[in-house]
Symmetry: C4
Subunit: 261 residues, 4 copies
């Protein structure tokens, strides 16, 4: 982030609060404090922006051990602190659980990290605007440059087609693998009767994609309701736009500052 | 709730405020303080989440006397404290009214408890997203796992068909019985020109169902507007999903913490 | 209001703030303080609920002089205090303007009071949910009991048909009279390319009608979008429901308490 | 503004905060403090009203040098202070950049000021309600008097038709000139796959137009969904309405007071 220093000066009280909980985490974890800090911020930002409610989760791949990832213990995202961050291996086994219970659907994260070396952050959400598209045969399309990644395609994972009758939850590694296969090399997948997964190369980018996927879904639904001819962002335009790896940097700085208040 | 202890420690000021009003209630009522505390929280949560505005109500069956239920005196839900909770018999007669006036439509609650021994909590609401479905012949369908119960079916109660010309309100036991018949064994019923009733086996679950029924209605309306083919959650998937009695526990913990602030 | 006394005790700090500004008004006006207090509250409630933004206004007929009404000076409703309330005759002439400028469209109020002795309060608004119906030939219909008055019919005033080319504003008595003729004996009228007027027998009722007209419009639009058959509240049901003159009393108490915070 | 004096008295703490940062700006810039103050307020108002999120920008032409304009450094609008305002020539070159980085798309502003001497303020936004119209062949139409300017026509700029394959961003002067040509003499233009530009003769007016363009777009989409015949504001009505240069003055006073809190 370009203005990280300004951020720390401006939000000193918030920064202190983060620092305090970080030391608690540091007693048990092996990941750098800055990664944990960003994961905590990501949890709170997604709750603040309405992408996550009490359910759903965000993870990040360990910065030095590619076979591990970090994820909060089973709890509401907006309450997560550094002390709630648990380290997992790709099978979804907690390295140092202590008395912290795990999200039932942690397999979503591990199985995606296993087959997507480019992915360093994963969001699983039930955002209301995505459910209509998850249940419909109308595909998500890219409406504008802030959600250009949608132009790469957002497949729908139908758990029934993959695994027969279930309670719709990704309860084990087999279901996680099936979802990861549906996702393929795409930036996101919808889950029929359930929600979505969004992936990216960093926490700021997976948070940005999740937030703008929500905006994009609402805008597309509205465009369809207008009844005219729609020109979506084309694949070659989107590819050029996505070459900017810091496309959500300015937004990330703002969001992080807001949740630190 | 798994982290009840943490909750009490974290929200000490809110907990004190609840405790104070609980003692006021304890002077007249026979229900345990924890039940009254949850009913107060339920009132405030439903107001916070926009399911209830100044109107509508939530009740709970007495924990040791199955022929009684608890309901606030006639007032806006977001202002309810323990001192406002009144105990009723199933006919809707207040056991210890003192100077507390009763909701006109308390018969909704008593008549449902009478014929549904499985029901321990009832919400009556006018949530704006439900009115279009209450007045339409398009049935509510389950869009995702958070509202899986909708797959059991949500009948529409048309008071005119049941009782001829009325002012649309459930003003007496006969109208309450007619509504309870319409509800049958279902988890919710819409009321034409009026709103809905939602039932469950606990306060957290009736609050969770009311909140996610609202989300589901909006998502379904949006899916219909997309104009494609919709695949709803199927009955057998929903039945498996609903076997988890604590499905809204994590959300309940978050909501309760928020209204205690 | 049934629990006025409780209200005053509970919101002492807010009550003090109102009282202070009331004395300022009392130096120049002839209306009772309680009427001015309710008009100030009405302004703030309509802003809080999103019915009014920086524009629009609410008036009340003088309680003892039927040929006068009270209306804020030209300013944003959410900032109105008792010192901003001006007394007008039915021609829209301020009795004691001092340095307080008048709303350009005050003729809306005077001309309605002139021909509708039953009306004691008027709201003029540009609520976004009403504009689609104001510009469309699809009539507003009553969706539920909280907006039963809509079943009496909500005509559309097209200023061009009444007065030829204008800037759409009700700038003088002649345009005010034309609008009042369109309104007739109805509880509300839409204004093409502009907004709406809502009338009632009291401030709480005109505020309640304005708020629930907004909810009703959104619900009706959504019901139409579902594409099914809609059963609206019927005229005889609505008439019975409207016989309760205190239908918005509980809501009024809540709203007033909130703006006093 | 008519009640500027009242405003300054009422919001003394906010006024002090602005004054402090203004002195910081005064060390490097040549524009009057009041212009900078209004530009800071405009940034914060557009963020508060949801017209801008972390992205987008608002500029103003220098009050005494018509070949210069003021624009914040590259940052989120809701965080802008006077010290962040940079002076540019029409080529988009910063006069006194110091360590302040520039918005990539500053060419939008310079190229519009170059060919539109009547324009003194420009907003570039990605408001979600505008994207459906930017991507659709359904034109924006004026729904009500608060957005009368829409009746002059809002063209769509398709960057692909103007310049072939791009990443959708207005990265240089040539693209800025193409956008300015699309805008022509109109008050706003939509940008396919991107957002919009809005122009006016003052900061209050460009802010007012941006806010009501958003309201208008939502209302028009809703009117279309009703399925009836729509009567839009006609060009001659709009022209009369727009002859009031202070049409957003009352709203501007309210907005400015709110962001000063």
């Amino acid at each position: 982030m370009t203005n990280r220093r300004q951020f720390i000066v401006a939000c000193s009280s918030g920064a202190v609060a983060f620092a305090h909980s970080l030391s608690a985490f540091a007693q048990g974890g092996t990941a750098p404090d800055t990664l944990v800090e960003d994961l905590v911020a990501g949890n709170r930002i997604l709750a603040m922006e309405g992408v996550l409610d009490a359910m759903g989760h965000i993870s990040v791949r360990h910065s030095t051990r590619a076979d591990r990832f970090l994820l909060a213990r089973s709890m509401a995202p907006e309450l997560v602190t550094a002390a709630d961050i648990v380290e997992y291996d790709l099978d979804g086994t907690a390295i140092d659980a202590r008395d912290r219970t795990s999200y039932l659907e942690r397999f979503i994260h591990g199985e995606i990290y296993r087959v997507r070396p480019d992915v360093r952050a994963v969001v699983h959400c039930h955002t209301a605007s995505l459910i209509p598209f998850a249940d419909s045969d109308v595909p998500l399309r890219a409406m504008y440059h802030m959600a250009a990644f949608v132009a790469e395609g957002v497949p729908v994972f139908d758990i029934r087609k993959a695994a027969g009758l279930t309670d719709l939850l990704v309860r084990d590694a087999a279901l996680g693998k099936a979802l990861a296969r549906s996702l393929g090399q795409k930036p996101a997948a919808l889950m029929r009767g359930h929600g979505a997964v969004v992936v990216a190369a960093s926490i700021p980018n997976v948070v940005g994609r999740s937030i703008y996927l929500d905006v994009n879904a609402k805008a597309q639904a509205q465009a369809i309701a207008l009844g005219g001819k729609i020109t979506y962002v084309e694949a070659d335009e989107a590819k050029l736009r996505m070459s900017d790896a810091g496309e959500y940097a300015r937004a990330w700085d703002l969001w992080k500052r807001k949740v630190a208040r």
